[in-house]
C-alpha cells in the first residue's frame, strides 16, 4: 500500500524522483555523447594514420623528365615528318589526269615546303600546251596556275613549243 498524497497545492514542478530519473538520463546522455566524441576523434586519427601509411606504402610515381632532344635532330625529325606527310601520290595522279594531250616533260620542281610547283614542258603545237594548261587548272590540288613563258624551239628538226609554268600546291 503506497503512501497517501492528497496535496492541494498545485505544482508544475516534477517530483524529486522524476527529476532524479530525468537528471540521471541526462547525465547518461552526456556520457554517451562524450564517449561518442572520443571514439569519433580516435577514428579520425586512425584514418589519418592509415592514409599516411597507405601513402608511404604506395609505389613512388616515376618522375617524368622532358627528354633532351637536339634542336637540329628535332628539325630533321620535323622535316622528315613533313616529307612523309606530303601527298606525292595525289600530285602524281592529278598531273597524270591533266595530261590528256601529249606534252613532254622537261622539268618538274615541286617545293613541298613552300607548296609551290615549277614545270617546264614541250608541246608539238602551241594549242596543245594551252589545252594542257586548262586541264591543269581543273585539278583540285593545283591553284593559281600561271604560264610564265612560252617560246618556239626546234628539237631534232621539229618545231616545238616550250612552256614554263608555276602553280600553288594545295594540300
Amino acid at each position: 500500500m503506497q503512501r497517501l498524497k492528497f496535496n492541494h497545492v498545485a505544482s508544475r514542478v516534477p517530483g524529486p524522483f522524476a527529476l532524479l530519473i530525468g537528471g540521471g538520463l541526462l547525465i547518461f546522455l552526456a556520457v554517451l555523447i562524450a564517449i561518442y566524441d572520443q571514439l569519433a576523434h580516435e577514428n579520425a586519427a586512425l584514418q589519418q594514420q592509415w592514409q599516411r601509411r597507405q601513402t608511404l606504402l604506395a609505389p613512388q610515381p616515376s618522375i617524368s623528365h622532358q627528354p633532351v632532344v637536339d634542336q637540329a635532330l628535332a628539325a630533321e625529325w620535323l622535316a622528315a615528318q613533313q616529307a612523309l606527310n606530303t601527298p606525292w601520290l595525289a600530285l602524281l595522279q592529278d598531273l597524270e589526269q591533266a595530261q590528256q594531250v601529249p606534252v613532254y616533260w622537261l622539268q618538274l620542281a615541286p617545293d613541298a615546303k613552300r607548296q609551290h610547283l615549277r614545270m617546264t614542258v614541250l608541246a608539238q603545237r602551241r594549242q596543245q600546251g594551252w589545252a594542257w594548261l586548262d586541264q591543269l587548272k581543273k585539278q583540285p590540288s593545283l591553284t593559281n596556275v600561271k604560264l610564265n613563258a612560252s617560246e618556239a624551239t626546234e628539237v631534232n628538226g621539229l618545231r616545238m613549243t616550250t612552256l614554263q609554268l608555276e602553280a600553288a600546291w594545295t594540300f
Binding site: R3, L4, N7, H8, S11, G15
Partner: protein, 300 residues
C-alpha cells in the same frame, strides 16, 4: 483540536510536497488549523530524506467556538496572521494541515468504462455531489486510485479555503508546499507502522479531533469505506458503538484492528474499546508525547 503526534518525513514526506526542494533544504513550518484550535509547529531541517527531525517550538491557540462551519472563523484567521507575522520573509517549508471538518472523504467503486481523465473527474464530482449535496460544487478534488478494479479514495477541500490560505501566506512571503487534511497524516503514519511491523494491510484507521472522528476501513490494502462521525468527550464509547454496528453489517470487518494515534489514546481507552484490538500509532523518533505545546493560550 487534532490529536496527532507529528512526524515530518513520515506523515508528510518530502515527495508529497509541491516544494520538495524546500522540504529538503528548509526547516518545516507546520500549521494545524481547526475551528477550535490552531497550532504552529517549527521543526529543524532534515538534512537527509528520512532523517529524524527535532521539534524547535510548538505553539497552540485554543478557541471557544459554537458549531462547525465550512470555513474557519475570523478569529482563526486573525490568530494565523499573528502567528505568521514573526516568520515573514523567512525560508520555511510550509505544511498546512486542515481539520477533517473542512474536508470531505469518499470511497468510490471502480468503474471499468471510465478511462479518460475528464470522465474520471466528472465521476468524482458526481459521486461527491451525491454524497454531500450542492456544497461540493466549489471543492478541489484529489483522488488516489488503487490497483486495477479497486476503489478510489477521494478527498475534497473547499477552494475558497485553499485560496484564502494561499493569500494569507502570500502576505508574509510564504508559499505552501503541502495543504492536506489531518486524516492523511494519520493514515500515512499507520501505513508506515504496518510496513515496519509487517502487519497485514487491514484495519480501521482513525483520526481523532475534539469534535469528530474520521475513520477509514482498509482491507487487503484497499480502502473500503470512509466516514466521519461527530463525537464529544465520550468519543471512545461512540467509536465502540460505531464499530459494533459495522461488525453487524459487515461481519468480515469484525476482526480488524483499530489504529489510533498515541495522542488520541487515554488511560482507559483500550479497555473501553474492548474487544476490538487497538494498535497504538506513535512516532518512531523522539517526537511523541514530548511534542506537547510549549505555549498554549486560550482565546474566548
Amino acid at each position: 483540536m487534532l490529536h496527532h503526534y507529528p512526524e515530518p518525513g513520515v506523515d508528510c514526506g518530502v515527495s508529497d510536497s509541491s516544494r520538495w526542494w524546500q522540504a529538503l533544504s528548509a526547516p518545516e513550518l507546520r500549521l494545524v488549523i481547526a475551528d477550535d484550535a490552531i497550532e504552529c509547529l517549527l521543526f529543524d531541517r532534515a538534512w537527509l530524506p528520512g532523517k529524524r527531525v527535532a521539534l524547535r517550538s510548538h505553539h497552540r491557540e485554543v478557541f471557544v467556538v459554537e458549531g462547525q462551519e465550512i470555513l474557519p472563523p475570523e478569529t482563526v484567521w486573525q490568530c494565523l496572521h499573528t502567528m505568521l507575522a514573526p516568520l515573514a520573509g523567512q525560508r520555511w517549508h510550509v505544511v498546512i494541515v486542515l481539520s477533517n471538518q473542512y474536508a470531505r472523504w469518499l470511497v468510490l467503486p471502480w468503474q471499468a468504462e471510465i478511462l479518460s481523465q475528464a470522465d474520471k473527474t466528472a465521476y468524482y464530482r458526481h459521486g461527491l455531489q451525491q454524497a454531500f449535496g450542492a456544497d461540493a460544487h466549489d471543492w478541489q478534488l484529489r483522488a488516489q486510485g488503487g490497483a486495477y478494479g479497486q476503489p478510489t479514495l477521494l478527498n475534497a477541500l473547499p477552494l475558497a479555503l485553499i485560496n484564502r490560505l494561499q493569500a494569507v501566506l502570500q502576505t508574509y512571503h510564504l508559499a505552501p508546499g503541502v495543504i492536506t487534511s489531518a486524516w492523511t497524516l494519520t493514515a500515512n503514519q499507520s501505513l508506515q507502522l504496518m510496513r515496519q511491523q509487517r502487519l497485514p494491510q487491514a484495519g480501521w484507521i482513525i483520526c481523532r479531533e475534539s469534535g469528530s472522528l474520521t475513520m477509514a476501513c482498509l482491507m487487503q490494502g484497499h480502502w473500503q469505506q470512509m466516514r466521519q462521525i461527530a463525537v464529544d468527550a465520550h468519543w471512545a464509547h461512540t467509536l465502540k458503538q460505531c464499530l459494533l454496528r459495522e461488525q453487524v453489517m459487515y461481519p468480515d470487518r469484525a476482526a480488524l484492528p483499530v489504529f489510533l494515534s498515541q495522542a488520541a489514546l487515554g488511560a482507559d481507552t483500550r479497555q473501553m474499546l474492548s474487544p476490538f484490538q487497538v494498535v497504538e500509532v506513535q512516532p518512531s523518533g523522539r517526537l511523541g508525547a514530548s511534542s506537547q505545546p510549549m505555549w498554549q493560550s486560550e482565546v474566548a
